[in-house]
């Protein structure tokens, strides 16, 4: 193996490794963990920070603002619940008993102020792998940002 070839290979490895390392490092910096409602309520350190909660929209708690700009509801994991207020357009897929992910933080009154709301419609086809049926359902359609 010639010197030149060795240089090219080592250079390539350094470049690729460097880029790869940076990508992985920055990834860990911007990774957001999703918490269930119980996890969220059980961990006091989460109270004051921006985080994501997933759960279901509790039936009979949904109050929509008159012209579609905003909604209040409780997100629940079946045991506990957190009241949520979201003040932007409600995605079409948002509905009672539907899966929902909210991103935001808790305010002083104990209400979760969401700035992102992602709604998935509950599976109406196969009981498992709903996204396999309609992958796009749970995705951009439902991002109200």
């Amino acid at each position: 193996m010639s010197r030149r070839r060795l240089q090219v290979i080592i250079g390539g490895i350094i470049i690729l490794g460097g880029i790869g390392g940076l990508i992985v490092y920055s990834f860990n910096q911007s990774l957001v963990y999703d918490h269930s409602v119980s996890e969220f309520l059980g961990d006091a350190s989460l109270r004051s920070s921006n985080c994501r909660i997933y759960g279901k929209v509790k039936p009979d708690t949904v109050v929509r603002a008159a012209a579609g700009l905003g909604v209040t509801f409780d997100v629940t994991d079946g045991r506990l619940r957190v009241p949520v207020i979201y003040e932007k357009e409600i995605p079409d897929t948002f509905k009672e008993n539907g899966d929902v992910v909210v991103e935001g933080r808790l305010d002083s009154t104990g209400t979760f102020r969401a700035h992102h709301l992602l709604a998935k419609c509950p599976s109406k086809y196969e009981s498992e792998g709903m996204e396999a049926q309609a992958p796009y359902n749970a995705t951009p359609a439902a991002i109200g940002s």
């Binding site: 090219v8 992985v24 920055s26 911007s30 990774l31 999703d34 509905k95 396999a132 049926q133 359609a141």
Partner: protein, 669 residues
């Protein structure tokens, strides 16, 4: 008919197993009779799977709800076209479509190579049929589209209304044509490794197949983006969603492959790398199929519960082990015939192009797979948003545009100062001028400025190439400039088709830069007669109407759009309420390139968010998306360029025949 389809599936399984065995034994015992038998079996598999697929389509069209899969994905009231497209609305049908396409490809490959590449063929047939065996076995034993419903059903569930859209109907088949197409160059790579015939045959034979797969992946991605844009109502076309990423990754790997095989053909370098790339591309295409069809994205738990997931994972790992193992086994015979002599050379530019594509691919892969792995291992659900992807993909993409400009013009082996000045002084000036003009026009967005300047640079290098080529034709063949340009393209289709593809990509980049850097949005709740504005546009809410048809109620609103006081368009954003589904859908209205008169500079994108029946207020959201239409136009140019690049032989024959006449004319003039 359903029984017939089911029987054909079983027969297809048997025939494909035989094809693998016969190819293997035929190679071992050097029996061309056995190899031929395997190939005939491959053709039979294509026929059997065609019958099977047609039987399932027939079940959809005739509303045969005694099949569970039909009952789950169709309903009697759907239009026929969506009944057919419901074939790929779910898991089992998608897998059937996948393997049907693969079987047809395999049959075409067999026909094409009846008297060519005979050494490679046992490995090729064996590989393709091995993949078929896996998919048909999945269909037969795990996810059978012909499974009965059990109890009688009056009507099916119907297809999700969001999927009842022409683009959504055509988007999965395009993607599958691409995903599956990657299997062909992969199979030839395996054939080369298997037989030890490691020259460039496997690459030259599959050049068109690679372009074909790459092309349909690209078209599928574009269709998906366009569908998301016009249908989903969030104002964008790409969200770094795992399903989107799954289709982007094999495209990126194939793009790298298509570029780096040129280096192997020209210089005999990067042999191992090319084999590695095609293995990566194929694994990513299986991964893409798997990720969209196993439910792994919604939750790892559904993946482990889902019966398909573990088999797919096992197949994936097995494929990788076998392919990489064969590569390692032949490594010693894959010597590079040349070396990189200088950092300033076309070889380096191509290498850099490959590094960038792989880096982008890795970024997308990591961002897609990590959340899945983390949930599987730590049990914690995580996500990483578009900002993280953009943070990495944007700089890598910008570097890629730069290399797009440099690569085709820089000299092979070692670029002299003169070569660099001659080729790049002009384009760099153009880029600088573009940046100055945009700065003077008030643009202060650094990344967008850089993107536009680099795009101008690439366009200038391409224009320079066309200009020089046409000038040369004017001198040597005494043609007019335009005739020179045309014959230049026709004589070097691969090269100039490639340039056209680059032009298309640059336009796509311009569209992405413009729409992501300068998007504006506005929300307003209005009563009839009121108006709001966004950018240069005034939107007056003038009217509402509601209509009904058999399936849905439609609430339609009318917005009269004027630009700086001058009426330009009328938009009708709507809300549809399907009676079968308990959720509304938002129908977007856009003033853009498909309006009349067309608007290419900025899409005005409007949705009706909701209305308040009591108070009479209607809430609208409007997005201003500058240059979005450039993305779709770039897509058309990409299609055109690819067509130019893949048709050389037919044209070359024509040109050779026409040449004496042309030369005679040349002499006469």
């Amino acid at each position: 008919m359903a029984d017939f389809g089911s029987t054909c599936l079983v027969a297809g399984l048997i025939a494909s197993v035989w094809a693998v065995l016969a190819s293997w034994l035929g190679f071992q015992h050097r029996s061309s009779e056995l190899v031929r038998s395997g190939e005939r079996a491959a053709v039979a598999v294509a026929l059997l799977l065609t019958f099977s697929s047609l039987a399932l389509i027939q079940a959809f069209v005739t509303d045969n709800f005694s099949l569970l899969y039909v009952a789950q994905n169709s309903s009697s009231s759907m239009p026929v076209i969506y009944k057919v497209s419901a074939l790929w609305g779910g898991q089992a049908g998608s897998l059937l479509l996948w393997v049907w396409i693969l079987a047809i490809y395999a049959a075409v490959v067999v026909m094409q190579n009846r008297s060519r590449n005979r050494e490679l063929m046992p490995g090729v047939t064996g590989t393709l049929m091995g993949i078929v065996v896996f998919f048909v076995a999945m269909l037969q034993f795990v996810s059978n589209p012909f499974a009965p419903t059990g109890q009688p059903v009056a009507d099916g569930h119907g297809l999700n209304p969001l999927l009842q859209n022409p683009f959504m109907a055509s988007h999965p088949p395009s993607l599958y044509l691409g995903y599956v197409g990657v299997a062909v160059p992969f199979a030839f790579a395996m054939g080369a490794l298997f037989s030890g015939r490691l020259n460039n045959d496997w690459i030259t034979t599959t050049r068109r197949w690679s372009l074909f797969a790459w092309f349909f992946l690209g078209i599928g991605i574009m269709q998906g983006g366009y569908w998301a844009y016009v249908e989903l109502g969030w104002g964008g076309y790409w969200a770094w969603d795992p399903v989107e990423n799954a289709s982007l990754m094999p495209w990126l790997a194939m793009t790298a492959f298509i570029h780096s095989v040129m280096i192997q053909e020209k210089k005999g370098m990067l042999k191992i790398w090319n084999l590695l790339l095609v293995i990566i591309a194929f694994c990513l295409s299986i991964f893409g199929t798997f990720i969209t069809r196993s439910g792994v994205i919604s939750s790892v738990h559904s993946f482990t519960k889902s019966n398909l997931g573990p088999f797919f994972a096992a197949f994936w790992v097995l494929t990788m082990i076998v392919a990489l193992g064969m590569l390692a086994w032949r490594m010693g015979r894959l010597r590079s015939e040349n070396q990189i002599e200088s950092l300033l050379s076309r070889e380096t530019a191509f290498l850099l192009n490959n590094i960038l594509f792989i880096a982008i691919c890795f970024t997308v892969f990591w961002g897609t797979v990590y959340p899945i792995l983390s949930e599987a291992i730590q049990g914690a659900r995580t996500s990483v948003g578009p900002p993280w992807f953009n943070q990495w993909i944007v700089p890598l993409g910008l570097a890629l545009i730069f290399v797009t400009g440099v690569g085709p013009l820089i000299a092979w082996r070692r670029a002299s100062g003169q070569n660099l000045r001659r080729n790049f002084a002009g384009p760099l000036l153009v880029a600088a001028a573009a940046a100055v003009v945009l700065l003077a026009a008030g643009m202060r967005h650094a990344r967008a400025l850089l993107a536009f300047a680099l795009c101008a640079f690439v366009l200038a290098t391409i224009a320079l190439e066309f200009y020089r080529g046409a000038r040369a034709r004017m001198r040597t063949a005494h043609e007019t400039f335009l005739a020179g340009l045309a014959s230049l393209i026709l004589r070097n289709k691969r090269r100039y088709g490639g340039y056209l593809v680059h032009v298309g990509m640059v336009m796509i980049f311009v569209g992405i830069a413009g729409s992501s850097a300068f998007q504006q949005e506005q929300v307003a709740t209005l009563r009839r007669g009121e108006s709001f504005s966004i950018g240069p546009y005034q939107l007056a809410f003038t009217d509402t109407s509601s209509t009904h048809d058999d399936h849905k109620d439609v609430l339609s609103t009318t917005l009269s759009v004027s630009r700086r006081g001058e009426a330009v368009a009328t938009l009708r954003p709507e809300k549809w309420y399907f009676r079968a589904a308990d959720q509304p859908t938002t129908e977007v209205a856009i003033y853009g390139m498909f309006s009349w008169p067309p608007n290419f500079s900025d899409d005005l994108y409007t949705i009706l968010v909701d209305n308040d029946p009591k108070g009479g207020g209607y809430t609208f959201k409007a997005y201003l998306n500058p240059l979005v239409s450039w993305i779709w136009i770039g897509g058309f140019i990409l299609i055109l360029g690819t067509h130019v690049a893949v048709l050389p032989e037919f044209e070359r024959r024509r040109v050779t025949r026409a040449r004496p006449a042309m030369e005679a004319r040349g002499v006469a003039s």
